[in-house]
Symmetry: C2
Subunit: 203 residues, 2 copies
């Protein structure tokens, strides 16, 4: 997936793939305080090997997240051409919540300067979301007093809310996405009490 195939030995490439898979699973299970040792054990490799491939735990996390962000950006781009912009935005938010299950935006908050590639991908994703939001607003599906930054911030709230129910039925987050999305619709809204945050302040 990640195109760092610069003369990588066969076993090293295998280990790297296993490591990324294990890290993704472990971060999903235990959140972002999963230990590097556990990830290494899960991948069946030594801890030193982890740090050979990624100099820092944060870099490993960034690599895992990069794929998801790019994936999401691609989906957003596809949905830009959808016939119903309101439904497109909802579908995007649904996919976003579904894909990141556990991981919330906190990795994006931390990743200010950590990883240049991740920052770029994040910026592309945010740009696509902006298009989605503006189209939905132009179509009258979404209230006009919100910004794309608002949507980005609210994006992972459904997962977070549902995470407080330990034995949650699968897809409980859809319930809260529906409620929040209803709050984004323009039916009988009242003016918002606080101006939106600056777009650059999100990460």
């Amino acid at each position: 997936m990640t195109s760092t195939d610069r003369h990588l030995r066969a076993d090293a490439a295998r280990n790297r793939a296993a490591l990324l898979a294990a890290a993704e699973a472990e971060f999903a299970d235990r959140g972002l305080e999963a230990s590097v040792a556990d990830i290494a054990r899960r991948a069946g490799i030594g801890k030193g090997t982890v740090f050979r491939h990624f100099p820092t735990k944060e870099d490993l996390l960034a690599a895992v997240v990069l794929d998801r962000v790019d994936d999401l950006a691609a989906l957003a781009r596809r949905l830009t051409a959808a016939a119903d912009p309101g439904a497109a935005l909802l579908e995007f938010l649904d996919a976003a919540a579904d894909r990141q299950q556990q991981l919330d935006l906190s990795f994006l908050r931390e990743s200010g300067e950590v990883n240049a590639r991740l920052s770029e991908s994040r910026a592309r994703l945010f740009a696509q979301i902006t298009v989605l939001v503006e189209r939905a607003q132009a179509a009258g599906a979404i209230r006009t007093d919100i910004t794309a930054t608002d949507v980005i911030l609210l994006m992972c709230a459904p997962n977070h809310v549902a995470s407080f129910v330990p034995a949650a039925p699968a897809g409980l987050w859809r319930r809260y996405l529906a409620i929040i999305f209803d709050g984004l619709r323009p039916h009988g809204v009242r003016p918002l009490p606080t101006p939106p945050p600056e777009p650059g302040q999100v990460g």
Copy 2:
């Protein structure tokens, strides 16, 4: 103001008060992974003294939280008698978000069996919220396909969402509370895709 004044020496009482104040401040600043050593330093006492008053860091956290929960329950009780049930619920949610600024429900999630008094207080708070929600629904201010558990789960979402903006203007959470509350109102809603969680599953 916890009434454990059972023959407590003067200096001990003073230290206990300072400790509680420092813990509240420190937990608010650094989140719930604030270290006991830092709290002790902030209170101007030794680390051993902390553990003399509270056998566990979790117990200290529970003591800090207990006041807020009782406080919130009292407010909810007061608002039960308000003329406009919809406005009362909104005011409650506003106060809840305002009071807990940083601390989210995670301490309530963890505190399953930790502290009996906290569990009782939490149950009382949840009961009051249920009354508030039902009254708002009876008045037609809130959609009828949501439950009090939904409201409890959504209660701290505004703070969490706003916390992703590092240099957030004061009260940014009000913006997201307004959006979410609009999603709770009965104007042109669509049916929710997932049944609500069991009330007992929250903590």
